[in-house]
């Protein structure tokens, strides 16, 4: 484990910036934390977490996939992929770090998505342990330890110091370059214990996944509660856009006058045209679309991924849903521990 003073953070970012672009949570004009490129004078936000997760860095909201030149009856396909820049994202919370275990199992399984894989290869994630979890936090429900997040490097922040520990080869290579002072882990352990105490007292601390998981489709799919739960859902898709694990995408095209660009963009299972095709739509009402989102995270995903749930308990959907419907309410109602 290594240690540095909080004041030396800018110096460290400057050092990392020599070889990679550094991004960190920074307060915008509205006081919301947003991942922002570091440069001299840019200050790390005090907010618990960013409005959107760092999903964009690896799976951008919109990205061009390929280009076509069309001339008469002829088509030329142009591979416009480029090698990603090397980048480091600092200040990532435990929940968001876990989201990449979930996304990797979608994008990196064969046939591998090269766009995502390339960014994963060039990106380094520096996580920061939580000390002030919020009332909307429930990462613990999914077995995530907010006091010891994963990532390439883990950082613990105390009042005056930062403690660094590398978890991967990539993280070790970066940490070695920073020449920080070695130290023992007593201060970190003390902080972990303190945070763990706070975690236990969080309002959602007792939320459990007990009645969910693979093999529960029969039991949960036809539950009458889906109707009442989804009744007020506007189908706005906000939950899916702020969700660090939602990965559904659309592929679309536009003609820029010089050729056709095929791009992908985030999509949402909450949208009415998500499954609409020429011969019909298998999810005609919001009940079906709403159910799909939660069944996917709580039953289908774990069924296909050794029991791992498709939610990380970051609480963004709790904070952002315009009608205050969210996965916690669904779990309590459908799971029967309301």
């Amino acid at each position: 484990m290594f240690k540095c003073s909080i004041d030396s953070l800018d110096k460290i970012f400057a050092e990392i910036s020599k070889n990679a672009t550094v991004y960190l949570p920074v307060d915008n004009d509205d006081g919301k934390a947003v991942y922002t490129k570091w440069e001299n004078g840019v200050k790390w936000s005090n907010e618990l977490n960013t409005v959107k997760s760092l999903k964009d860095f690896f799976f951008p909201q919109v990205e061009n996939l390929m280009e076509f030149k069309v001339e008469g009856k002829n088509i030329e396909i142009k591979d416009i992929r480029t090698e990603s820049e090397d980048f480091v994202v600092f200040g990532v919370r435990a929940c968001d770090v876990r989201s990449f275990d979930i996304l990797d199992r979608v994008f990196l399984v064969e046939p591998c998505d090269s766009y995502y894989a390339n960014r994963r290869e060039h990106g380094v994630i520096i996580s920061v342990a939580c000390t002030r979890p919020s009332e909307t936090c429930f990462c613990n429900t999914f077995g995530i330890d907010a006091t010891s997040p994963n990532g390439d490097i883990t950082v613990w922040k105390t009042e005056d110091a930062l403690y660094w520990n590398a978890n991967t080869e990539k993280g070790k290579a970066l940490l070695d370059k920073l020449n920080l002072d070695e130290c023992d882990d007593s201060a970190v352990n003390e902080q972990k214990a303190k945070t763990a105490e706070i975690m236990k007292r969080l309002p959602l601390a007792s939320l459990t996944t007990e009645n969910f998981g693979g093999g529960k489709t029969d039991e949960l799919f036809n539950r009458p509660e889906w109707k009442t739960l989804s009744e007020s859902c506007l189908g706005c898709g906000t939950c899916t856009f702020v969700c660090p694990t939602c990965q559904c995408y659309d592929i679309k095209e536009f003609n820029n006058g010089n050729g056709v660009i095929r791009f992908r963009c985030w999509d949402s299972c909450m949208y009415s045209d998500f499954t609409k095709m020429a011969h019909g739509n298998n999810r005609l009402s919001q009940v079906e679309r709403f159910r799909q989102r939660f069944m996917h995270k709580l039953v289908y995903y774990p069924e296909n991924n050794e029991g791992i749930f498709g939610c990380v308990g970051c609480g963004r959907c709790l904070a952002k849903c315009p009608i205050s419907m969210n996965i916690v309410k669904v779990m309590k109602t459908i799971g029967g521990n309301d």
Binding site: I75, I251, Y300
Partner: protein, 277 residues
Amino acid sequence: MSLMKEPLIPVVGVITDVRIDTPDIKTFRVVTPDGKKAFDHMPGQCAMLSIPGVGEAMFSITSSPTNTEYMEFSIKKCGCVTEWLHQAEVGQQITLRGPYGKNFPVDDAFVGQNLLFVAGGVGLAPLRSVINYCRHYRERYGTIDIVYGSRSKDDLLQYKEIIEEWATDEGVNVHLTIDREQEGWDGHVGFVPNYVKELGFDTNKTAVLCGPPIMIKFTLDGLYSLGFEKTQVYTTLELKMKCAIGKCGRCNVGSKYVCKDGPVFRFDELDELPDEY
């Protein structure tokens, strides 16, 4: 450089033949620009075809894998991509990628079995690949019965091939039907599910169904009443798809993705999935 092969990037194909099958179905023959078959597939697998600027959509490959020269797609005009394709002429280039999905178990579960194919309308397209594969390796299978129906005689897909090739094969019985009486038609008249029941097949068969949902539903009921088990009946599903590789998240039925876990399912497998297809 980590830019490995990207599954979403297609290859260029050329339409070398357009056959007008019915008033709203055309069969397109496609090869690569250097005249070769774009890729190998197994019966029941699909391919993504696209016209840049119009869109990309999934289609079953109707030609048999035993055809080593080209691929064929029988496409019904019903949406943006298909409307555009129907206007395409020979020489038009398109893009294609694949093959996608799980095929019919022609090399294992079907071997040694008597086969019963039941199709309605454009539902013959995916079955034609299986039928011609089984006809090619005729000695591997028992009897082959084909029940095929459509609205009218003019709506029967691959009519020439059915009459001239399938119906003349030994051990292959073709049973055609159309929905309503029509001048010049002296064959059976009536809906496919009823015809299947009338024909009263022995249950010593493996059945493969493809057609409109309503046909599937009633044919299935008919087969069950004849004594067929769910484990003897297969079908192929179709849902909205974008990526075709199980990542874009829209073609799932429960925990299964039609693009990669299907499109071929056995009815006992479908029974375990929620009724959302």
